[in-house]
Amino acid sequence: MRETVIDAHNLSKIYDEKTIPVYALNKVHLHISRGEFTAIKGPSGSGKTTLLNMLGGLDIPSEGFVEINGTNITALKGNELVDFRLNNIGFVFQSYNLIPVLTAKENIEFIMLLQKRPEKEREQRVLELLKQIGMEDKINKRPRELSGGQQQRVAVARALAPKPQFILADEPTANLDSVSAENLLDMMLKLNQEENMTFVFSTHDQRVINRARRVITLEDGKIVSDTAPTTVEHI
């Protein structure tokens, strides 16, 4: 039996609870195991980003809770939650969201610095990741000197750097051209295969959906379909 990484129980997010309640998420149950490459799809406003935010501890559910490796993160407060995110969850956002004043190397190193990892370990990991994403020659480039695809690859490397439990990616290919999107997907799939890294995407992009091992469809805050989970080994 595969290890469960994310366990969401009865998740609801209700806006305007006191007037006319709007369910951004409505009693969602979700289990994600280690090594999954999962896409969450659905039309705009279906609750994809909200679900991703809940799974990443960026937003608090109105009902239900999320367990990551057995830790109820919904119960964590303040710095406890921040530290949990820092040490367990990797994020890739839609609009690259690199720190503009830092170089590619410094961006990748950033989370490890927050974790106070030793310099030698950081250097080694950064070089390893830059090689994996094929950007050794861009080590000292700042985000504005990189293309959208390159920035997104650095963002993935940054998310991977501290070896998190899983990576949450909110529409990672949304702003990329088709070649860059394919390259990014290839890279993430490779990391999924080689490092058994768990990826969860929210996406509209059919290319991502086609490459995903598991596809969850959301509509009006509810899961309307969930394909059988498969890991790379099972393909």
Binding site: T49, F93, S95, V101, F110, I111
Partner: protein, 403 residues
């Protein structure tokens, strides 16, 4: 890493950073210069008061200063003078006979203080000769000579070599009067002082006042202002029957001028700091609001709120650090130049003179004051950064990332 991010962040919006750096520079420059200007003005006023009017320490009969009555003189005054003159810390000492009286001419009369002085000693003490603009200093061979001020000369329509009448009460309370010939006209920077003081030789008035060979005031000038309290204490022990006062005690209004001026400078500084604070709050707030998404991303990645807070504070600190050297350099250059050349307000000399100030101001500043201003500016800037930093702390990652 925080330092690196903060220091690089300040150059993201060059125009905005330059505005705040300029504001800090101008604030510092104006603040330091104003302080130096005021210092120069007050220092000149005090120096002038000490060197021309009060000296550092004065000795009197304990009752004398209540009503300036002649009968309260220092019987042992001349011996006291000798003893004081022997002290190492003393630069100059002189005895005086101070009489409140009237000066009269054909055109009118005026209430004045008649300063019966020892010409040679007084010259060392107050450089009275140096203030003469017309005529010549006391001639030892001549009797009943008088030095009057230019203001008094105009007021009483007097002139050099003309006679004037001094009238006052002697030791017994009888009216005494004598004619004095004007040997010189003097002028100081202090209009009110000039209005109210005339100088005669002590030997010409002591007998007339009924206290021959006696004195009722001893004025002491020290080599250094720092030893005033020590020498005052020392003299008090040596002459316990006399009243011994330092210049601040003799002229409390001068102390008041200093403190009122201090308050004015602090009010002015307060306005500068307030403007600076508004500028910083505005700039840093814009910076935080523009970076809402970025700050949300940092929070999401695991940067805790304390680090976000420190990042904003550090950014402000670096902006100030960039502005400080420019402001300090400008201030030092301006003070350096004006300290040599002086700032000439001779067009307003009458106004300055009426308050006892020189119309040429030489700005000056102590390191202590300079340090205080710099610390004050840095504290204001950091304090101003608290508001935007607090705003950044309120951001929630999920909401911020949507922006």
């Amino acid at each position: 890493m925080l330092t690196k991010i903060a220091s690089r962040n300040i150059w993201r919006s060059r125009k905005r950073s330059l505005i705040i750096i300029t504001a800090v520079s101008i604030g510092l420059w104006t603040g330091i210069f104003m302080m130096a200007f005021y210092n120069g003005m007050i220092e000149q006023r005090i120096n002038s008061a000490i060197s021309s009017e009060l000296s550092h320490i004065q000795l009197h009969h304990p009752e004398f200063r209540k009503d300036y009555e002649i009968k309260y003189y220092l019987p042992e005054g001349r011996k006291m003078l000798e003893k004081i003159a022997n002290k190492q810390e003393i630069k100059a000492v002189a005895g005086r006979v101070i009489i409140k009286g009237m000066i009269a001419s054909a055109s009118g009369s005026s209430g004045i203080t008649i300063n019966g002085v020892m010409p040679a000693e007084e010259q060392l003490l107050t450089n009275l000769k140096g203030k003469i603009i017309k005529g010549s200093y006391f001639n030892p061979k001549k009797e009943n000579e008088i030095l009057i001020s230019e203001k008094l000369r105009k007021k009483l329509k007097l002139n050099l070599n003309k006679k004037t009448i001094l009238t006052f009460q002697d030791r017994e309370g009888n009216l005494a009067s004598a004619a004095f010939r004007i040997c010189a006209i003097y002028k100081t920077i202090n209009g009110p002082y000039d209005d109210a003081n005339v100088f005669v030789k002590i030997t010409d008035v002591d007998s007339l006042a009924g206290i021959p060979k006696a004195i009722n005031e001893i004025a002491v000038l020290l080599h250094s202002s720092k030893s005033v309290l020590e020498i005052q204490k020392n003299l008090s022990q040596q002459f316990p029957k006399s009243e011994i006062k330092n210049w601040m005690e003799i002229s409390p209004e001068l102390g008041l001028t200093v403190s009122v001026g201090d308050q004015m400078v602090y009010i002015f500084m307060g306005i500068i700091l307030l403007a600076l604070a508004f500028g910083i709050v505005n700039t840093m707030m814009m910076s935080v609001l523009e970076r809402t998404r970025e700050i949300g991303m940092l929070l999401a990645l695991g940067m805790n709120k304390f680090k976000i807070f420190m990042m904003i504070i550090l950014e402000t600190f670096f902006l100030i650090l960039a502005g400080c050297p420019i402001g300090i350099l400008l201030a030092f250059a301006t003070i350096g130049i004006t300290n040599q050349t002086g700032i000439n307000f001779s067009e307003f000399s009458e106004v300055y003179s009426s308050f006892g100030y020189s119309s040429i101001i030489y700005p000056t500043l102590t390191w202590n004051q300079f340090g205080n201003i710099v610390i004050l500016i840095i504290l204001t800037a950091l304090f101003s950064a608290l508001f935007p930093a607090k705003r950044a702390l309120k951001l929630k990652p999920a909401e911020s990332l949507k922006k």
